[in-house]
């Protein structure tokens, strides 16, 4: 075993890359759930984002247009879920699962002609001065712009939910849609907006996989990251800061176990791979024991205005 071959600077940089798609998808889903909607279709929206982002980036040569297109496409795609659950009052769990499967199918159909292509490289953002700093420069300040955008997004969502009136209304809709409705807020519209935002975030996460992390298109390439994002929302007990911790924990352990193996450390791989899930269960047990889950009270319940 030669642990000295693990370079901590590169390790941290890799963890940030590995965690970014999870973080993007999870923060979007958290907003959706804060509004009282359970959208299990994150994986489907991500893969739609992955294929749209890749196709756009390849045909325009611009990864930024790719990210933009991915966000828009996944947001529009999520509206299928929005219309079904908010207007036609379909079951949210079943519709979310449907969204996942349709996303997988549509993406592999669209992606057929893009197999084996390479995406244009996403430029690294070399922040002057900061990225030249020893150690932290390489670790924190020489990533692509999406890494920072995802962090800003977490900050923005936190501030939005905590300090703004709109954030308060969104939380009210998630806690008690009937009361919010009685106060005159447009529950359905607010929820649609949250679903739209969640879709856009998942799309960005998907595009991050196909444009930066892998960079190419292959069917089914999101490989369960959307489900991890869903788990992280629960792990985080619906708090933005903990979503960040959760995403970096999951991404981090994944990268760490690969690095430990590469360094020849004799660690049980299966145990390491399972550890984020074990931690999630532990956290759930602890918050259950405390009796406060943090889940929005109306989560997953359909809303139908009776008056």
């Amino acid at each position: 075993m030669d642990l000295s071959s693990i370079n901590p600077i590169l390790l941290v940089a890799s963890i940030m890359v590995s965690a970014t798609p999870i973080l993007l998808a999870a923060i979007g889903e958290m907003v959706v759930e804060k509004a009282g909607v359970l959208n299990l279709g994150v994986e489907g929206m991500m893969i739609i984002g992955a294929v749209t982002g890749f196709a756009t980036a390849v045909s325009t040569g611009s990864p930024f247009l790719g990210f933009l297109a991915a966000a828009i496409a996944s947001a529009i795609f999520s509206m299928a879920f929005g219309l079904l659950t908010q207007f036609l009052l379909s079951n949210q769990v079943a519709t979310g699962l449907g969204l996942w499967m349709i996303g997988l199918g549509v993406s592999s159909l669209v992606g057929k002609s893009y197999e084996g292509m390479k995406s244009p490289p996403t430029p690294k953002l070399d922040i002057p001065v900061l990225s030249d700093l020893p150690v932290v420069g390489r670790m924190l300040f020489s990533h692509d712009i999406m890494v920072y955008l995802s962090l800003l997004l977490v900050l923005g969502v936190w501030a939005f939910l905590k300090f703004t009136r709109a954030g308060l209304i969104l939380r009210a809709v998630g806690e008690s849609h009937d009361s919010a409705h009685a106060l005159g807020y447009k529950v359905v519209l607010i929820r649609l907006a949250a679903i739209f935002f969640g879709g856009a975030c998942a799309g960005l996460g998907g595009a991050y996989i196909s444009l930066v992390r892998v960079p190419q298109w292959t069917e089914g390439m999101t490989a369960g990251i959307g489900w991890i994002a869903l788990a992280i929302v629960v792990f985080a007990s619906w708090r933005p800061g903990r979503v960040l911790i959760g995403a970096y924990l999951f991404g981090g352990i994944n990268v760490l176990q690969l690095n430990l193996q590469a360094a020849g450390a004799n660690v049980p791989v299966a145990l390491l791979s399972a550890s984020p899930f074990i931690v999630t269960i532990l956290v759930l047990v602890i918050i259950s024991a405390r009796g406060h889950h943090g889940a929005p009270a109306s989560l997953g319940r359909p809303f139908h205005a009776t008056t």
Binding site: E115, V214, P215, T218, A223
Partner: protein, 357 residues
């Protein structure tokens, strides 16, 4: 069609299957572990299927199902394929072995062919390619090309097939470069581009400048390209889109002749359970073009090695070879038996790692 008529038709098709197949086209089914667009393992099996269609035209009908998980769901997928009237079913991943055996017992009139397995029955044959022959050549090039003397290996599952590949590559890298070290990452997946890319990156960050892989996507190639001065090899298919670097050569599976041969046997009524294990000599394993990124003399040596393996003059597992624990495996000049290779579950001496259990 309602469920009852569907079931009766299926039952009818089964009982009449034998009598009717002289006139009807033979239906050949394929169960794939990944998507046909993986650019690797499943892609090449699908190329074999397409070659079958081209060869037989109207006389054969092919059906396939992609991305079937290994495990319980495989049994359902294979059963469904057998029910839908397939005459011969190729199950193309190691993890389908037990499900294939279970389904074969229920459908004695359907022929089954399992890729890379070892269990057979009257209606189950197995076939595999001697990929380790190709890996010997890759190992040779890898040992010559590495500057850091660290070679990274992305392994899928700890099964004999994969362990054979690691040993073969290591033996031949070590032969030309005594200082070479292998870093092995077990990804526990055949196909997960994000994980494969992460694994490749982890290896590169740990100092490897040559990446070998036993997983199916081209994600490691993309990661190597990003890193710049790292070389890789195509796995299962040519992955030529990454040539001349990082991909400098490849192992290519060529299943088409075998598939055509076996389907012909079904048509002729001469099909019998078999156990096929062919390599470079028989054309089941191909070596993709060695690019100019490899120096001329290394390329010539690699091609000479390929020639001697193809002609049977040289066996990649020739003694003296010790096991990792230091005990003697093969004596001077002795070659490994197929039985030994089929159940290989240890590293050769020099690989400083444990095989996960």
């Amino acid at each position: 069609m309602n469920r009852r008529t569907l079931l009766t038709t299926a039952a009818l098709a089964l009982t009449l299957g034998q009598a009717a197949f002289a006139q009807d086209p033979v239906t050949a089914g394929f169960i794939y572990v990944g998507p046909v667009g993986d650019g690797g393992w499943t892609y090449e099996h699908n190329q074999g299927r397409l070659a079958v269609e081209e060869h037989f035209g109207d006389k054969v009908k092919t059906i396939f199902q992609e991305s079937v998980p290994e495990g319980a769901d495989a049994e359902r997928a294979i059963t469904q394929m057998a029910l839908s009237g397939a005459d011969i079913i190729f199950t193309t991943s190691f993890g389908y072995m037990d499900p294939t055996m279970a389904v074969a017992e229920k459908f004695p009139n359907v022929k089954f062919e399992h890729a890379t397995g070892y269990k057979t029955a009257d209606n189950v044959g197995v076939y595999s390619a001697r990929f380790y022959e190709g890996r010997a050549i890759q190992g040779h090039i890898a040992g010559k090309m590495t500057k850091t003397n660290k070679i990274g290996y992305i392994a899928s599952f700890p099964i004999p097939e994969v362990i054979r590949g690691i040993n073969s590559a290591y033996i031949h890298a070590k032969k030309v470069n005594p200082d070479v070290e292998f870093s092995i990452i077990w990804a526990y997946t055949w196909f997960d581009p994000a994980k494969e890319a992460d694994a490749a990156r982890a290896l590169i960050e740990n100092g490897a400048d040559v990446i070998l892989q036993h997983t199916d996507s081209t994600a490691p190639q993309a990661a190597a390209q990003e890193a710049g001065d790292v070389i890789t090899f195509g796995q299962a298919s040519d992955m030529i889109e990454y040539a001349p670097t990082p991909r400098v050569s490849s192992i290519i599976d060529n299943w088409a002749p075998y598939y055509i041969d076996r389907i012909q046997a079904v048509m002729d009524g001469t099909w019998e359970s078999d156990n096929t294990w062919d390599g470079i000599g028989a054309g089941m394993v191909g070596i993709g073009e060695i690019t100019d990124a490899v120096p001329e003399d290394v390329k010539a040596e690699a091609l000479a090695l390929k020639e001697s393996i193809a002609s049977g003059e040289y066996h990649p597992f020739t003694g003296p070879l010790n096991k990792a624990d230091g005990s003697v495996w093969l004596a001077e000049g002795e070659t490994a038996s197929d039985g030994d290779l089929a159940g290989l579950n240890f590293y050769v001496e020099g690989i400083d790692a444990e095989i996960p259990q």
